[in-house]
Symmetry: C2
Subunit: 226 residues, 2 copies
């Protein structure tokens, strides 16, 4: 029984690793579509989201079967429950990457955000690419230290996001209303990608250490501009 | 054993009912703060969010204990897993209501959206109040028909949300950039409240009927303005 459980849990862990890699690819390509005007990248994110959605369903089904057949307790149970929640977080990250790609495709060959805002969005893209790499290695290595770095560094993204609002409200802004809408929406999607990465990192800390950092005060800050 | 399980599951169901009521209150008060400039309502939403967060934690802990001790299978297991996911959805709805209240508080005594956009936001508020009532009765009565109505009617909210963009891009727009930022962000928060209500309704349909409507193509549409 124990052997079967470990095998089945291993299959879930492998699927989560795969999902993290797909999410990393989606984030990287969404950034390429936004900053480099790469329309093929945009289309790949949009088309690829269905695979991420399917993996979420599959992981949750596997976990439910595991719970029914194996009745895991203690650490094993915690791992199964956290795995389901991780899968849902990754699914949502795929959606957000898709939204960025859709906005980039809509304005192609123009960039959805005006030239003056592009350096800021470029920095956010770089930050999210680093976070996406960390997500994958945190999962592959079950590395709580990498997870902690995701949690700690998210402030950087929030500050960049805040600066997009400052730019939009400054005298330097000369964009259209459509561009302002895109600055706000795309900025929000990128900020939420960071929030979800933090939430995923907390689940991995929980799996690895048994300590639940989500019991600390909720994040999702930096949302409002005051 | 069976008796204990049902008792414990009943406690989870009661907490979910209570959570739905708190979310309804948060949505209603957030709408009052936005449309009626009710600063006390805004503060109540902001202060009350901590209770919603605590209920999510408590429900998930109860469900994990249930899984460990009672090893539910079949329908019971499905109910436990769906309950955990419902609690997370409600928690997120509390956050979104709080974001709306925070924006309203920031601009008090002014409304964050300009006068011309207010009728549209008023309609979105009315829609969300109706949805919040439905959420509560869907949970209390385990009523799949009410849940289905939430799923079906969400298009109405998406259309209203779309109209806020049309207004912002029309010649009738004369607001500031700050107001446009708020129109986009608050519109997004309201649209997401609708999406999460749909997701909650799908989980209730799943609990009641065993059919999982989330296996249909993902929603979260109407996000992008094309």
């Amino acid at each position: 029984m124990r052997v079967i459980f470990n095998e089945e849990l291993k299959a879930v862990a492998d699927d989560l690793d795969h999902m993290a890699q797909l999410v990393r690819t989606a984030i990287t390509l969404a950034g390429d579509s936004l900053i480099d005007g790469d329309i093929d990248a945009a289309q790949r994110v949009i088309d690829g989201d269905i695979e991420i959605d399917a993996l979420e369903s599959s992981i949750i089904d596997q976990c439910v079967r595991l719970l029914a057949k194996q009745n895991p307790v203690a650490t094993d149970l915690r791992v199964v429950v956290a795995s389901m929640r991780l899968a849902s977080t990754f699914e949502r990250m795929g959606d957000l990457a898709r939204h960025i790609a859709e906005a980039s495709r809509r304005t192609y060959p123009e960039c959805p955000v005006p030239a003056g805002a592009k350096p800021l969005f470029g920095k956010m893209r770089d930050f999210l690419n680093m976070t996406a790499d960390r997500l994958v290695s945190m999962l592959m290595d079950r590395d709580a230290a990498v997870a902690e770095s995701i949690i700690t560094d998210d402030d950087t993204l929030d500050k960049l996001h805040h600066q997009t609002f400052e730019f939009a409200l400054s005298d330097d802004w000369s964009g259209t209303n459509q561009q302002l809408i895109d600055v706000v929406l795309i900025g929000r999607f990128m900020e939420r990608l960071g929030d979800h990465a933090v939430s995923a990192a907390r689940r991995v800390v929980y799996i690895v250490s048994g300590f639940d950092p989500s019991k600390e005060p909720q994040r999702d800050e930096g949302t409002d501009i005051d």
